[in-house]
């Protein structure tokens, strides 16, 4: 039941929808729901570090709102006058803070995304599009650490014959580091050549090759997709019925809020909170099973 054990496409759909909505909606209620969900989800996934990060974002958001109101002067309720004579208005302040909150929400969801969307899921998704691309990606991702390790090995070997980076006067040190760099480049090229030959001998360039993946698309994923689409349809119905419409310029005017509007708010909240709820439910079930099964 845990969200990160679902199929990667599910994670992709969820995060795309969430971040797109977070950046698109302007309406205060939707923005608030987005912000609170992002806050809760990031704390659930990342713990105390996320809490500190989120709290640091708040003053940045406030600063942005003030900057926005200082340089944009639309609106009919003036609060203060600028040095060159333009008015600082309430509408500009409110709009600036709404924009700040939407960006903060998107940032928090992106931190959740990094936690849920691990490298192997990215590689898997790329592999669905093209196996060659995913293989290429996995090779690229490995290069950095491998080169670092090999560079250290070269340095230790050279130190053994007195030609390390830290030995000799300044000119000798420069010369030694250049030599080590050249050794490293040669090694990289040779290892690429070796990998290519070994991949070719394993049938890498043959047609009809598929990539192995550990993810299965089962009924649990299917029901989640149906639930997400139901929520999406509900939210888009709300957009079509102007429930998310608000105009800030030059007067703050909202649509009527009726009892039925709360149904749309609920749909948005469900869409955003579903993974967190599933994660919590999954973990609780796991704990319960662990406790009841003495080992």
């Amino acid at each position: 039941m845990r969200f990160d054990s679902y199929h990667p496409t599910i994670n992709l759909i969820y995060f795309t929808a969430t971040i797109a909505f977070a950046l698109w909606f302007n309406h205060p209620v939707f923005v608030l729901i987005g912000y609170l969900s992002a806050f809760a989800y990031s704390i659930k996934l990342n713990g105390l570090k996320a809490l500190i990060f989120d709290l640091c974002l708040i003053p940045l958001g406030a600063a942005y709102a003030l900057w926005y109101a200082y340089y944009n002067h639309f609106g009919i309720t003036p609060v203060h006058q600028n040095i060159i004579g333009n008015q600082i208005t309430v509408e500009a302040l409110v709009y600036g803070s709404v924009r700040a909150i939407t960006v903060i929400t998107a940032i928090m969801f992106v931190t959740c995304l990094f936690k849920v969307f691990t490298t192997d899921k990215v590689v898997y998704l790329f592999g669905k599009i093209s196996p060659k691309l995913s293989l290429f990606l996995s090779i690229i991702l490995r290069i950095g650490p491998r080169i670092k390790v090999e560079g250290r090995r070269i340095n230790v070997a050279q130190m053994g014959i007195g030609r390390g980076i830290g030995q000799g006067n300044i000119f000798q040190r420069i010369w030694h580091s250049l030599r080590e760099l050249s050794i490293l480049i040669t090694w990289t090229l040779e290892s690429f050549l070796e990998s290519t030959r070994s991949m070719q001998s394993r049938g890498y360039s043959l047609k009809g090759r598929t990539a192995f993946s550990i993810y299965r698309f089962d009924n649990r994923d299917r029901s989640f997709v149906i639930a997400i689409f139901a929520c999406l349809v509900w939210i888009f119905a709300g957009v079509a019925l102007n429930q998310t419409a608000i105009s800030y310029d030059p007067q703050i005017l909202m649509n009527r809020i009726t009892p039925v509007s709360f149904v749309f708010y609920l749909a948005y909240a469900i869409l955003l909170l579903l993974p967190m709820i599933l994660q919590i439910m999954g973990e609780k079930k796991f704990e319960r099973l662990q406790r009841s099964c003495p080992v």
Binding site: H73, F229, L241, S247, R256
Partner: protein, 413 residues
């Protein structure tokens, strides 16, 4: 694999069903599937933001939409709506009953309806044109033509053209209607009405002129700004009603700014008050009548800031010092009359750029729209703080919608 395929197909089918039912639900609510016989009224014209509530959901009303029984039609500030001979003023709410009879919940309507519910009473009208108003627990019916009968708690009150029924908490009375009881909205509607009303167009124009004169008398007399164009003999009583409303909101701000606003980044010029030597005067006016020809491109939230006749500031004469620019005069005049204005300093052109006047900004009426100015009939095409004024200059600020000035007379884009 076959089982997987079947399950996937089931999932896709379920999703398709959900999507289709969603679209049908929204369509039914918005009235895409209603036949024209079921509609009890059609919305003819919408200006600004107007909402309709149907089936518990409120959404934006569009021109040409059909209205069904149990709908609630509401106009937000600075908006108006017209349906079947009735026009609603801003911040009004009207409900259509199941029997098709309209109830006025709050606000003002200018109407020709035969039947109307108002403050728990029934209005019956025969060939009548009247203004029904209800705000803060009291209401009134101002009859401009025909006969109107108001029935409440068993009592009946009749009013003919030229009379008004005032409905208060405990007291309902029928009195004579004077033209000064009509507000701006009612006068505009009355002037556009095709029927013969108890007031002629001249009567109504006189009321507007009197109000304009009162407004101008109420403005603090300024040594440097004289209302009215000395060159134009005919006084334009065409009301800058937006000016008036903005003035009421910003008058305290305007008067506070009067003292410290005189020199805004332009070139030199000492503060006014010293009239040593010959007096330099110029005339200035601000108009946005091109918007009236392009209303379909106008942002809905700005519709209430376009005056009915397109004139934000009627021509007025301003005194200025040597070396003052168009920008200085514009700022002074806007601060005096309380007209909202926004400008920004553009370093590469070394001048101020006017982004918006009276809440009408560039790009609000199409992506070629914005403010341009001409002096003595010619468009300088550079920043207004770079144009130094000479005595007798005639400045016109106009809003262009198409062709980067082509529709206000500039020769090139």
């Amino acid at each position: 694999m076959k089982k997987q395929k079947i399950l996937n197909i089931v999932m896709v089918v379920l999703i398709a069903i959900i999507v289709v039912s969603g679209v049908l639900a929204v369509g039914a609510l918005k009235g895409w599937f209603t036949k024209s016989e079921d509609a009890i009224a059609t919305i003819d014209q919408v200006s600004g933001i107007v909402n309709v509530e149907r089936g518990g959901v409120g959404y934006r009303a569009e021109e040409g939409a059909a209205l069904l029984p149990k709908d609630i039609l509401e106009t937000l500030p600075k908006a108006s709506a017209t349906f079947d001979g009735t026009t609603m003023d801003e911040q009004s709410e009207v409900q259509f009953g199941e029997d098709g009879i309209v109830t006025l919940n709050r606000g003002t309507i200018f109407t020709r309806l035969d039947a109307l519910n108002l403050m728990d009473g029934k209005v019956t009208a025969t060939d009548a044109v009247y203004v029904a108003d209800m705000r803060d627990g009291s209401g009134s019916i101002l009859v401009l033509a025909g006969t109107v009968i108001y029935e409440k708690d068993g009592e009946t009150y009749t009013a003919k053209a030229g009379e008004q029924i005032s409905i208060l908490e405990n007291d309902i009375s029928v009195t004579k209607l004077d033209a000064t009881a009509l507000n701006e909205f009612a006068i505009t509607q009355a002037k556009n009405a095709k029927e013969t009303l108890c007031f002629t167009a001249d009567d109504l124009d006189k009321v507007l002129a009197d109000r304009e004169a009162e407004r101008q008398a109420a403005l603090e007399t300024s040594e440097t700004i004289h209302i009215g164009d000395e060159a134009n003999a005919d006084s334009t009583e065409a009301d800058a009603d937006s000016t008036g409303k903005d003035k009421d909101k910003n008058s305290s701000a305007a008067e506070a700014e009067e003292e410290d606003d005189d020199d805004k980044g332009g070139s030199g010029g000492s503060s006014s008050g010293e009239t040593s030597g010959p007096v330099n005067t110029c005339t200035i006016q601000i108009r946005c009548d091109t918007i009236l020809n392009n209303l379909e491109n106008l942002e809905p939230s700005k519709a209430g800031y376009v005056p009915g006749n397109g004139v934000i500031l009627t021509p007025c004469t301003v005194e200025f010092e040597e070396g003052e620019t168009v920008f200085d005069v514009l700022c002074r005049v806007c601060n005096y009359f309380g007209i909202q204005i926004e400008y920004s300093w553009t370093p590469i052109y070394n001048s101020y750029y006017i982004e918006g006047i009276n809440n009408l900004y560039e790009f609000d009426c199409g992506n070629q729209s914005g403010w341009m100015y001409k002096v003595n009939g010619w468009f300088p095409n550079y920043g207004c703080s770079s144009y130094t004024l000479k005595n007798g200059d005639n400045i016109v600020w106009c809003y262009t919608c198409n062709g980067l000035g082509a529709d206000v007379g500039a020769s090139m884009g």
